[in-house]
Symmetry: C2
Subunit: 282 residues, 2 copies
């Protein structure tokens, strides 16, 4: 693949990790960072995640590819602005919700320069210091509504994700938002709620935290995630998240009923059913 000049808007966990991979895999003929937070901008330069920092307009003008790696509430503001000024550039986002964004720009005259993507990778940390080498490898990336984008743009974006080790999935924005509610968004809500459950108790009892086991850490890890990223995701995917959350609460109520009624045969069945998740995760 031909090296391209790449602008990354938002040099945090995702943008920074992507910058490292793009350099590592020889995809970038220079990376321009665009970063609203001056401390993050300085840090991104110090860590050599990007070669230079420019303002959005200049960065778009100077780039062949523009990657938008900002929270989804900023994405709906910035993407139309970027599309207003693109000519030949390829523009992609890496956000966790797709329906609202893709609906928003569907009649934009430069719509076809945009490719909507969602690489299924992240950690509970944020900011440029959270960027890690080797991110995204062996994970899935979703490309949404590819038929609405120019073939040259889709081809380059697919190639980029394959080069950094991701496997490609294609689906429409509606299906994407439904599926991610199940396999990503609900996990964050259960983790936040579990943290709050335990912290509520901690007011009375400090000692319990010395006991925190690896199992607890695993289920509550995502509760460290940044609200600036997650509140907008839940807002934009409200209907799907509510559906899944209602289902999850009703599943928890089954466990509650088993205990209250001492129906341990059914409790055993519920757990055996949950064990079927082995088919899906290793």
């Amino acid at each position: 693949m031909e090296r391209k000049k790449i602008a990354i808007v938002g040099v945090g966990l995702i943008g920074g990790s992507l910058a490292l991979q793009l350099n590592e895999k020889g995809l970038a003929a220079g990376i321009i960072g665009v970063e609203a937070d001056p401390l993050h901008a300085k840090k991104a330069l110090d860590l050599r995640l990007v070669d230079e920092i420019k303002d959005l307009n200049q960065a778009v003008k100077d780039a062949d590819v523009v990657i938008l790696a900002i929270p989804v509430d900023r994405l709906v503001v910035i993407l139309p602005e970027v599309l207003d000024i693109v000519e030949h550039q390829i523009v992609l986002d890496v956000g966790s919700t797709k329906q609202l964004l893709i609906d928003l720009i569907k009649d934009h005259p430069n719509r076809t320069r945009f490719v909507g993507t969602h690489p299924m990778w992240g950690t509970e940390y944020s900011g440029p210091e959270a960027a890690v080498k080797g991110a995204f490898e062996n994970k899935a990336v979703v490309i949404c509504n590819a038929s609405e984008s120019d073939p040259d743009a889709v081809t380059w974006v697919r190639g980029m994700y394959q080069k950094i080790g991701m496997h490609l999935l294609e689906m429409n924005a509606t299906d994407h938002d439904l599926h991610t509610a199940y396999v990503s968004h609900i996990s964050h809500i259960t983790s936040f709620a579990l943290a709050n459950t335990v912290l509520e108790k901690e007011r009375e009892e400090d000692a319990i935290f010395e006991l925190a086991s690896a199992g607890f850490e695993s289920t509550v890890r995502l509760a460290k995630s940044n609200p600036a990223m997650w509140v907008p995701i839940f807002m934009q995917n409200k209907e799907n998240v509510l559906d899944v959350l209602n289902e999850h609460i009703s599943q928890l109520r089954k466990f509650k009923a088993c205990l209250e009624k001492e129906n341990y045969t059914y409790l055993q069945e519920l757990i055996e059913n949950a064990n079927r998740i082995k088919r899906i995760i290793r």
Copy 2:
């Protein structure tokens, strides 16, 4: 510490991992396995987790220390039988619930030979093949109601856990069962329920599993855990688990209400509160 002849009753994940550590740290002058499942017994010998397999009576007679590493519903049956035949031996359990067990044997003439313990380590796997080297290191172990045990027994058990790298906590059985409901048992219920939530949906939609991210895997990992271990834990700790489960459902309802009422300020506050878990887990 003097090496002792150790009998391990139940050579699965916990018993097997403990056997590896006891040998590694030079604490055992031979390990006798007691194992009801003949396939597990053979596997434990093949993997050299134990030196020999004996029946319970003979193993107790031949040992200096008897470690009970069986599910908590078996523990309430086996511990009284073991105490009936002990003379000089030290007996300890490694179960996840304590109140019922300790109440059960409180008037046994050999009560003082028993030390109730709970090493806070485990994985979602089970059986002797699941045993791993280096288990328990840098984790906490709880010793319950130590004043009810003979000083020589408590001293040896404390020393054993320190040698395998654990840090000691002491508390009474009542506090132990309350705290573990918060930092271990509820995590398993949320994982089981989350798995069932997603599997319920999977009947219609297969594709979603290709999307499963690291975050999802982390929150749902414990759903692979063995019902033969967990149903008895939930039975024995029913009241505490129900308290925590009710609190957890009410925390989830707060997220639901925020979304339904589009109260994103409060949603932000809930997530910021959950972020305080950073103080507790790294």
